[in-house]
């Protein structure tokens, strides 16, 4: 959630007068980084050209012909595809709902844990609720299938009691709530830590003063705790907006199945299955990828502008 919080550079302007010889060791230390970023981040940016090409790996990026003569054929094709729009809609719905649900859940959990007054229980709860964050979605999917899957306990129990078996993970109506639920299960506890840390920094005098005025617990939460975490909460919320179109590849890829593709396919899973799974249409896959990158980038810039305009700390 707070991946991008620390990117402010304390840049001083032109360093060009600096003595390169005196800093030779520092420059030596930065050379691997330059190579790394050029190779693994900038070369793929050059590879975006694939989106405009009728790409054949053997011919290479430059050797492949422009798609449809003008280079736009891949985009025309994906924009005409009704399934693409469905996938985009799924991505936005899943991305936005997950963002909001997790946001509220994390704050709620932090408020509850903060109200626990016995340090032992506070610590224990924290350990329990943050633990699932450190598991991979592969593992979590294993645990989920064991409950909701075809040979999971719910299905088994229904079968035994003579009822119609119902596999939750194959059901279009249940699958999306399952995504929200498992996301909260895995991540909300960890996300709440940041709010708990902020709450720990609130001066106890504020609460004492409120006690003297006869404030109730709810009043104290509403008037002291929530305002204190508001800046952090807003910052985290706007930061996560740039990731809406990512919507959680790991989670969906490990949990979904052909029965729910119609509702669960997001841009990333679609690119994966549509091009990598089939080994075909790299141009269209790259075009969808570029579409996603550009929209996400615009979202980040927009959110940054809005944040600065409304007086919050910007992110760029």
């Amino acid at each position: 959630m707070n991946r991008k919080l620390i990117i402010k550079s304390n840049s001083s302007l032109n360093d060009f007068g600096a003595n390169a010889k005196r800093s030779k060791y520092l420059i030596l230390m930065i050379i691997p980084a330059i190579i790394f970023y050029v190779v693994f981040c900038y070369l793929p940016m050059y590879g975006i050209l694939i989106a405009f090409k009728d790409f054949y790996p053997k011919k290479g990026i430059l050797g492949s012909a422009w798609a449809g003569g003008n280079g736009l054929a891949n985009f025309e094709k994906i924009f005409k595809d009704a399934y693409f729009w469905k996938v985009l809609r799924n991505t936005v719905v899943i991305g936005v709902s997950k963002l909001l649900i997790s946001f509220v859940a994390a704050i709620l959990i932090a408020l509850l844990i903060n109200e626990i007054r016995l340090t032992f229980f506070k610590k224990t709860f924290q350990t329990i609720v943050t633990f699932p964050h450190f598991l991979s979605w592969v593992i979590v999917a294993g645990l989920v299938f064991n409950i909701f899957g075809i040979s999971g306990i719910i299905n088994k129990a229904l079968q035994l009691s003579g009822k119609e078996p119902m596999t939750v993970i194959y059901d279009e109506g249940f699958f999306i709530p399952l995504l929200f639920g498992t996301d909260v299960w895995k991540e909300a506890g960890w996300s709440s830590i940041i709010y708990l840390a902020t709450m720990a920094g609130i001066s106890p005098e504020l609460y004492e003063a409120a006690d003297i005025d006869g404030a109730t617990r709810l009043q104290k939460i509403w008037n002291i705790t929530l305002p204190a975490i508001k800046p952090t909460a807003i910052l985290l919320l706007i930061l996560s907006v740039g990731g809406i179109l990512s919507a959680g590849f790991d989670q969906i890829f490990n949990l979904y199945n052909p029965g729910v593709y119609e509702v669960a396919d997001i841009l990333d899973t679609y690119i994966y299955r549509y091009t990598i799974g089939t080994g075909q249409r790299p141009g269209e896959g790259a075009a969808i990828g570029l579409f996603k990158s550009v929209v996400s980038f615009i979202l980040v810039i927009l959110v940054d502008r809005i944040a600065k305009w409304s007086g919050e700390r910007g992110i760029i």
Binding site: N2, I6, S12, I30, A33, M45
Partner: protein, 302 residues
């Protein structure tokens, strides 16, 4: 029994106040909520454990169990004698040690170089790195690059592309930037160069931070499957998580494949899952404070 001192303070600490030690109904309600939430977190693990130690016949008859009816270790026996899982574990352990050291090395030297001095092109490099946090080429160009580099289906594809994690690198850079600069100046007067200052002065001061970041890398490597899934075809190079994924996820979610994988029992799957979770469960309670510190430091430093 209430102590005398407590009674004295009572007028200032009315019922329900923050410093009132008495337990109220509200406390019970909050506790109950969290208790249920905690149970929801724990239940899937407990259930997996039960399934893994129950014989298949018991699981098929009574899938909902609260306490084990009959304990068998046969699933774990199968796990420990499974070549696939051992091979996966070996790959994962190599990734865990080699990969973590490799990532730590490059992430830390980059963070240090960006935190010190005013060398030529520092801002340019910084901006070049920041741009990559907001814009990328996407999956298809990345895959094309990997095959062009000849990394496809090699062990190194799971290590090399992870050299620098931008977020942790910036965390490290910000940390180095907070260390007192006078140490550097006095070491320079003594004739030390930047490399010596880094290794002998600043690195020893940063060990807690290195531990924190190293732990995040270690967890990442333990859990890594994505690069392996994209690029690894050789079964000998498949890390534990990928082996598990092929066993659990593809078996359970791919309707057409269910019939083929029906031979893998639920008990065996859960035993394998537990086999992967247990190391994390053993270490996590002791390491939690490092992780929390890493998260909090990252968010508070602006």
């Amino acid at each position: 029994m209430r102590k005398f001192a407590d009674i004295q303070y009572l007028p200032l600490r009315p019922k329900g106040s923050t410093f009132d030690k008495r337990i109220t109904t509200m406390d019970w309600v909050i506790f109950a909520f969290l208790f249920i939430y905690g149970l929801i977190i724990i239940y899937p693990f407990y259930n997996a454990l039960l399934v893994s130690i129950s014989p298949d016949s018991v699981y098929n008859e009574t899938p909902f169990l609260i306490i084990p009816k009959e304990v068998t270790w046969s699933n774990y026996h199968t796990v420990f004698t499974s070549d696939k899982l051992w091979s996966g574990l070996k790959v994962t352990l190599v990734l865990l040690f080699v990969g973590t050291a490799y990532q730590l090395f490059f992430t830390v030297i980059t963070g240090y170089a960006l935190s010190r001095g005013k060398w030529l092109g520092k801002n340019l490099v910084m901006n070049m790195i920041l741009i990559t946090m907001f814009f990328g080429g996407g999956l298809i160009p990345y895959m094309n690059l990997i095959s062009k580099l000849g990394l496809y289906d090699t062990f190194l594809v799971m290590i090399i592309p992870g050299a620098i994690d931008t977020y942790n690198m910036l965390l490290m850079r910000n940390y180095f930037a907070t260390l007192p600069p006078d140490l550097e100046e006095s070491a320079k007067i003594d004739g030390a160069n930047d490399l010596q200052i880094f290794v002998k002065v600043y690195l020893p001061m940063s060990l807690p931070m290195l531990a924190t970041i190293g732990l995040f890398f270690a967890v990442g490597n333990w859990n890594s499957w994505y690069n392996a899934m994209l690029f690894i075809k050789n079964p000998e190079y498949k890390p534990l998580q990928l082996v598990l994924q092929e066993m659990i996820v593809e078996g359970s979610s791919n309707v057409e494949r269910v019939s083929q994988t029906q031979t893998i029992s639920e008990g065996f799957k859960m035993a394998s899952v537990f086999f992967t979770i247990v190391p994390m469960m053993c270490f996590y309670p002791f390491l939690q404070k490092f992780f929390v510190k890493g998260l909090v430091v990252g968010a508070i430093k602006g």
